[in-house]
């Protein structure tokens, strides 16, 4: 996007010029001072390492069935016990995390992309574009998200979508539900930015719309988008867990935190075998809280407006 612009400025000084984005450096410095946000970041990093690197050190695979090892409590061999099919719970929690985090991140990326693109177009061009995009967003916003996801999930089961594709469809569903809120925020920001004097200056210079949009508006939207995106990941993970818990999201045997809790969804497991549902439950809790704390910290340093 900043293709041509950078040729003018960096061409002669490549390599020698220090990075002069002191705004970002200042923000990073302030963020580092925020202990809570750093704790959140540490937990998020840990969860990623745990889920993506952890399984490499595990002697078990997530769906190897061991009938002799059914429903064993935690022990030196199985640190978090085994489930009804004799699978190692710790390994499954890590594998499930891979899916949950991936779904969360991917659906965030997708909804941020759709939301900010449509929001920016609506806010910048106004008129009929604005009307069509925002009425569509309103329509999606008027339907409560969770019931909508349930209906879509039920449809997926009806259409017999192969289980290995469900994960990708769940990502799409979550993005579909999430983009309207995002588009509204981005549109609002664009509406205020486009009246700023430097945008008028861009008009006077006779710049093309594409350059005004991508080189002038978008860089000013980046902090807002980063903040929304980070807060969005937590919500997406949570929604995916809820869906999977109700058997409408990602299907077993592919483990996710949500469907692991769901498989412990009976009185005996709940009372007698807490190792089946506490680890995935705690993982969801810790990850979502940590992401939200970190997102709040980010907002404090990047988005100057809602500071009390």
């Amino acid at each position: 996007m900043s293709t041509i612009g950078s040729e003018i400025t960096k061409a002669g000084t490549a390599g020698t010029a220090p990075v002069r984005s002191s705004m970002w450096r200042q923000a990073a410095r302030r963020l580092l001072k925020n202990r809570l946000a750093m704790l959140g970041l540490a937990v998020v990093v840990f969860m990623f390492a745990f889920c993506f690197i952890g399984p490499l050190f595990s002697p078990y695979t997530d769906n190897k069935i061991h009938l002799a090892q059914m429903n064993k409590p935690p022990s030196p061999q199985h640190w978090l016990g085994t489930d009804a099919l004799g699978r190692d719970v710790l390994t499954r929690v890590m594998q499930a995390g891979r899916i949950s985090l991936t779904v969360g991140l991917a659906s965030m990326v997708l909804s941020v992309f759709i939301g900010s693109l449509l929001g920016a177009i609506a806010g910048y061009f106004r008129g009929i574009c604005d009307q069509i995009i925002m009425r569509l967003a309103d329509l999606l916003l008027t339907i409560p998200g969770l019931p909508l996801l349930f209906i879509l999930g039920a449809l997926l089961s009806d259409w017999k979508v192969p289980t290995e594709y469900r994960m990708y469809i769940v990502m799409l569903m979550l993005s579909l539900v999430n983009w309207p809120g995002l588009a509204r925020m981005v549109r609002g920001e664009v509406l205020s930015l486009r009246e700023r004097e430097f945008m008028q200056a861009a008009t006077v210079l006779g710049l093309r719309n594409r350059r005004k949009l991508f080189n002038h508006l978008l860089p000013n939207l980046v902090p807002l988008i980063i903040v929304i995106a980070s807060l969005n990941v937590g919500g997406a993970i949570l929604s995916e867990s809820v869906l999977s818990f109700f058997g409408l999201g990602v299907m077993p045997p592919t483990p996710t935190w949500g469907n692991m809790i769901d498989s412990a969804n009976n009185m005996i497991d709940f009372q007698k075998r807490p190792w089946l549902w506490i680890p995935p439950g705690f993982s969801i809790f810790a990850t979502v809280i940590a992401i939200n704390i970190f997102g709040d910290g980010l907002r404090d340093v990047l988005d100057p407006r809602p500071r009390k």
Partner: protein
């Protein structure tokens, strides 16, 4: 008389006043109310008037940055308001605006080199390889250094930023520059530098300026012809020397008598206007100035004076002249 570079005829710009539940238009602010002026190539036309008199709106409608309500604007004979968006965009490099506020008119996320050079790219005015050199040339012409090219706006002072604003306009080789109070946000020592820069650039490049200001001494220093605005209307236009030596309109007289002069002992007649400038939403009847004019007669309340030619290059809108 050579052909006018910018010709404004009976330009009107009304802003709707909206209020109430349904956002209905309940009135109009007559920011610019029937203004005509023409600017010849190479001259500097100064537009003066107090705050809220519509000077900036004239500047902005003259290059179609805001849409007009009525009237006609011709730039090099081309009817600006008859162009479509793309035609207008292609014409933009020839007429540039320099903004009043050097802080808000530069995008904080765009490096100076990009801010100056990008318009050249979009208009295909220079091949990519030459753009950096063109930017460096214009930076030098505006008294900035080559190493400024990679910096962001927040690393500059107000005066430097205004130079960047000028460089950004200048790189396009415009024929007309509208300068909308370009020095009023700067402190006095910097003002002088920027004004001299305007002058130097005019001499070396043959630029035409529409210079909007509320500072009469700046206008006197820089402009060859001056128009005085009051409440959206032009009250007097005249060559600089005529205007300063012998102002005709009572409002011009009052303005000139308020200019500070560096001779403390010199006593002169000071015309003090009573009251404030009336609201442009509800301007007075007849001559808009009659509520504050020390010489007003009965006729001024009823009949709006015509903007008349009074010999030479002088025009004035007053019954008593």
């Amino acid at each position: 008389m050579p052909e006018a570079l910018l010709e404004i005829r009976h330009l009107k710009k009304y802003f709707p006043v909206k209020s109430g539940f349904l956002n209905r238009t309940v009135g109009q602010i007559k920011a610019v109310d029937d203004i005509s002026l023409s600017i010849r190539p190479g001259e500097t036309f100064g537009l003066v008037g107090e705050s809220g008199s519509g000077k900036s709106t004239v500047g902005r409608t003259a290059i179609r940055l805001t849409e007009k309500t009525d009237g006609e604007v011709r730039f090099k004979g081309i009817d600006l308001y008859g162009l479509n968006a793309e035609e207008l965009r292609r014409l933009r490099p020839k007429m540039q605006l320099i903004f009043q506020d050097p802080y808000s008119s530069l995008n904080p996320r765009v490096r100076i080199g990009d801010a100056i050079g990008e318009a050249l790219l979009d208009h295909g005015l220079a091949p990519k390889e030459e753009i950096r050199d063109r930017v460096l040339d214009v930076l030098a012409a505006c008294g900035l250094s080559a190493y400024h090219i990679d910096r962001f706006p927040h690393e500059f002072s107000g005066g430097q930023r205004q130079r960047i604003g000028i460089a950004r306009a200048l790189v396009l080789n415009p024929e007309l520059i509208i300068a909308d109070e370009p020095v009023s946000a700067l402190d006095v020592s910097i003002q002088a530098q920027i004004i001299n820069l305007f002058r130097k650039l005019q001499e070396s490049r043959g630029l035409t300026y529409l210079f909007i200001s509320h500072d009469l001494s700046v206008v006197e220093h820089l402009c060859s012809r001056i128009g005085v605005m009051y409440l959206g209307s032009m009250v007097e236009t005249a060559p600089r020397d005529d205007l300063f030596r012998n102002p005709l309109h009572p409002y011009t007289k009052a303005l000139l008598s308020a200019v500070p002069i560096p001779i403390p002992k010199l006593k002169r007649e000071r015309i003090v206007l009573s009251g404030d400038i009336p609201s442009p939403a509800n301007p007075p009847s007849g001559c808009k100035f009659h509520t504050r004019c020390p010489f007003a007669v009965e006729r001024c309340k009823e009949q709006a004076p015509e903007f008349r030619h009074v010999g030479g290059e002088r025009f004035v809108a007053c019954h008593l002249v």
